[in-house]
């Protein structure tokens, strides 16, 4: 009885159906433990690994320089910036927008540096629904290859003050 202390020596290995289930459950846990590292090597979608320490003001400077050199237009006063395929791009999360708008080419790989100027933010690319966490002081490098073309929205999904639900941005992916 679970509410009374068991009598005598209660040590007994599992038997019968119970043993079968413990074995099955353990096997399933092993399958899951193997799938994760397997995908790490074989899969195309993995959490970005590269991070550099960066002072928010230094990061803002790099973003501004990136915008100046690669600017190709603007939309609602937000610059549209087209980085070199294979090259570095910058994305700044700040209260309350993602800056600037990035213009990418389909099936080209970019190193997008993401960081925050102020609070924590959550970068969410929609509608494909890809999400990473953004911290001030951390330059998080996503090596990303858009495999579909079109216009993608960025939103913020970590609470960052009263304007949080107005924090958006954009990525435009062109066919090649």
């Amino acid at each position: 009885m679970s509410i009374f202390h068991p009598k005598g020596n209660w040590y007994r290995p599992p038997t019968g159906a119970e043993r079968l289930w413990v074995g099955l459950a353990l096997a399933w846990c092993l399958v899951m433990s193997i799938t994760m590292p397997w995908w790490h090597f074989q899969g195309k979608q993995n959490a970005p690994q590269t991070t550099y320490e960066v002072d928010p003001s230094a990061f803002i400077q790099r973003v501004n320089q990136f915008v100046e050199t690669n600017r190709v237009g603007e939309i609602n006063n937000v610059p549209i910036v087209e980085p070199e395929p294979g090259g570095d791009a910058y994305l700044l999360g700040q209260m309350w927008q993602w800056y600037p708008v990035l213009k990418l080419k389909k099936n080209q790989t970019y190193r997008i540096h993401v960081s925050s100027a102020d609070l924590q933010h959550g970068l969410s690319i929609l509608p494909i629904n890809m999400n990473i966490h953004v911290l001030p002081g951390y330059d998080y490098v996503m090596e990303i290859t858009p495999t579909t073309a079109g216009e993608f929205s960025l939103i913020c999904n970590e609470f960052c003050g009263i304007g949080h639900h107005r924090m958006t941005g954009k990525i435009i992916v062109e066919e090649t």
Binding site: P6, P48, M167
Partner: protein, 575 residues
């Protein structure tokens, strides 16, 4: 004669279970349970307002109050309701089940005062509008110092209760108030208490420096380090909740059906897995964070989480299997599931616990493990899929199990009977059903990327417009409807408990009124009374029904898990 009266005053014998209930400890069981229920009401009112705000056609609150209410809801539910109730469980499991008085009444008073002060201060500062930082209070977001101080006071109080618990275990052992090993329910409670100590130490490491920072005495803690430490609190706390919930499952299974654990070794071993392998599973909250290597993330999720998952899967078998054996011994042998239909569904304590196990396993567990996979987390982090998952664990699982326990706590500890028993019978279904609907609404809206903690799912007024598919809004409607139903279930629970505790007919000196027929109750009583004598017997009874149930579970798990990998393969390439 004189020693007899002294003893008689210190404890009473429960007419239903024959266990000794120590009056001082009983006071702390009662007061902690009552406080828990008060904070459940506060959190519940916030819950209704939140559900009616995320329902995008309603959007009841304005933005400021939405963020304030989400902070209020998270803190009152996940911290105050759950932990006050767990304190009641610790007092109960260490005294009554071990047949001992508590270690220190003074200490219990001090911890109670600290916890109440902490909870009141925190609520005050949130409602005053100076702590709109969510439960997690991630820096650089900054709250009024009283917010951190309130939570620290509360946590210190809880730590002292855990200390009192361990000291009570110690004096029981020393005074030999029981022979052999402690009962399984106490063992589970001890598991919860051990994890609580680890959790609270992490919490102190995150919140004490943050409190100093808010006072201007220290630099701000690095936001990444804060997250690591904070989730050492936040994640471990969920393991406390799981351990406490499973203990409640075992307790109610015994008392409502006469079930006894098939194999103490297996059940206890599973609890030990929780303690050993939970340590670093906090990683699954940081899977898409910068600054941590993939090796670290993968190792900590798979080593620490999967063996804890194994533990839950074991309990998920042993609890229903023990009930199946009990039912078959009562003669309900028809087919594979004949016993299942004959379970005491009319007993709200039982049905709450049964629903808790089903919701926790089938929805909470499967989604949790899947979303906690490093790569799959890319599709889930901070979307509504996350609250969709944890409302099936900590609400449909833990909260519902605790509600179920209350249907026993009121007659056994408060010695009061319920009014409106018909309504009591539907209460677990209403609450559990509402939570399931809400959890589905959240989870499916989340697959469209609808964010959590976000007032306006249409991002009205943003510089660059965006929005969601109309179907996502239908799921937000489901969230709203489910939330309202769950709130009605919660309110009904509170009404039933309050009317019984404060105005209910006294049942002092009587057995607890049964929810079942007299014949059923007699069979359950017989099993309970012979169970202790029969320790180690009746393993020949097969459990085909439970085997089928757990196989269905495993199949659902595998389908959901691999479907998520398949969906992941469609995303842009990222590394």
């Amino acid at each position: 004669m004189s020693t007899e009266t002294v003893k008689a005053a210190a404890h009473r014998v429960c007419e239903t279970t024959g266990l000794s209930i120590f009056l001082k400890a009983q006071f702390f069981v009662k007061i902690n349970a009552v406080l828990a229920v008060i904070f459940l009401l506060v959190g519940g009112i916030a819950a209704l307002l939140l559900a009616l705000t995320r329902w995008s056609n309603v959007m009841l609150l304005n933005d400021i109050w939405y963020y304030r209410m989400i902070t209020l809801h998270g803190v009152n539910m996940l911290v105050f309701w759950i932990i006050f109730f767990e304190m009641a469980i610790l007092y109960f499991a260490s005294t009554t089940l071990l047949n001992t008085k508590m270690f220190s009444k003074k200490l219990a008073h001090v911890s109670l005062a600290l916890m109440v002060a902490g909870a009141v201060v925190t609520n005050y500062i949130i409602l005053k509008g100076q702590a709109d930082v969510m439960l997690t209070s991630y820096p650089p977001l900054e709250a009024h110092p009283l917010f951190y101080l309130g939570i620290i006071l509360f946590a210190v109080g809880a730590l002292l209760v855990a200390f009192n618990f361990f000291a009570t275990l110690y004096i029981a052992k020393k005074n030999k108030t029981y022979e052999g090993s402690m009962p399984l329910v106490t063992f589970g409670a001890a598991t919860a208490a051990i994890i609580a100590v680890v959790a609270l130490l992490h919490g102190a490491a995150a919140l004490v420096p943050t409190f100093f920072w808010s006072m201007g005495w220290m630099e701000m803690m690095d936001p990444g380090v804060y997250r690591l430490l904070w989730w050492g609190l936040g994640h471990h706390s969920q393991q406390i909740n799981v351990a406490a919930m499973v203990s409640v499952w075992y307790f109610v299974a015994t008392i409502s059906t006469g079930a006894k654990p098939l194999n103490e070794t297996v059940c206890r071993g599973a609890f030990i897995l929780y303690i050993l392998f939970i340590n670093l599973a906090a990683a699954h909250h940081l899977l898409v964070d910068p600054g941590l290597s993939s090796e670290w993330k993968i190792w900590n999720t798979s080593y620490a989480m999967y063996l804890a998952v194994l533990a839950s899967m074991i309990h998920g078998y042993t609890v229903p299997a023990s009930m199946e054996v009990a039912m078959r011994r009562k003669g309900y042998n028809k087919g594979i599931f004949g016993w299942f239909a004959k379970l005491p569904w009319k007993d709200p304590g039982f049905s709450a616990v049964a629903l808790s196990a089903i919701i926790f396993g089938f929805i909470g567990g499967i989604t949790g493990v899947t979303l906690g996979t490093e790569q799959i987390n890319i599709m889930a982090h901070n979307t509504l899929r996350i609250p969709g998952h944890f409302h099936a664990t900590v609400v449909g699982g833990t909260t519902l199990a605790f509600m179920g326990l209350c249907y026993y706590l009121v007659p056994l500890i408060f010695q009061k009977d319920f009014y409106m028993k018909k309504l009591a019978r539907i209460q677990p279904w209403l609450f559990g059903g509402g939570i399931v609907l809400m959890s589905f609404g959240m989870s499916f809206a989340g697959t469209y990327g609808v964010p959590r903690r976000t007032y306006d799912s249409d991002f009205g007024g943003a510089i660059l417009e965006t929005g969601f598919d109309p179907i996502a809004h239908i799921f937000l409607g489901l969230l709203g409807v489910g939330g309202v139903i769950a709130f009605v279930g919660l309110l009904l629970f509170l009404v039933l408990i309050v009317t019984a505790v404060f105005f209910g007919p006294s049942i002092k000196g009587q057995k607890m009124p049964t929810w079942q027929s007299a014949r059923e109750q007699k069979m359950t009583d017989d099993l309970i009374s012979i169970g202790y004598e029969e320790e180690g017997k009746d393993y020949h009874i097969k459990t085909p029904g439970t085997i089928v149930l757990v196989l269905i579970f495993l199949l659902s798990f595998a389908i959901y898990y691999f479907a998520n990998w398949a969906a992941l393969a469609d995303l842009w390439h990222i590394r």
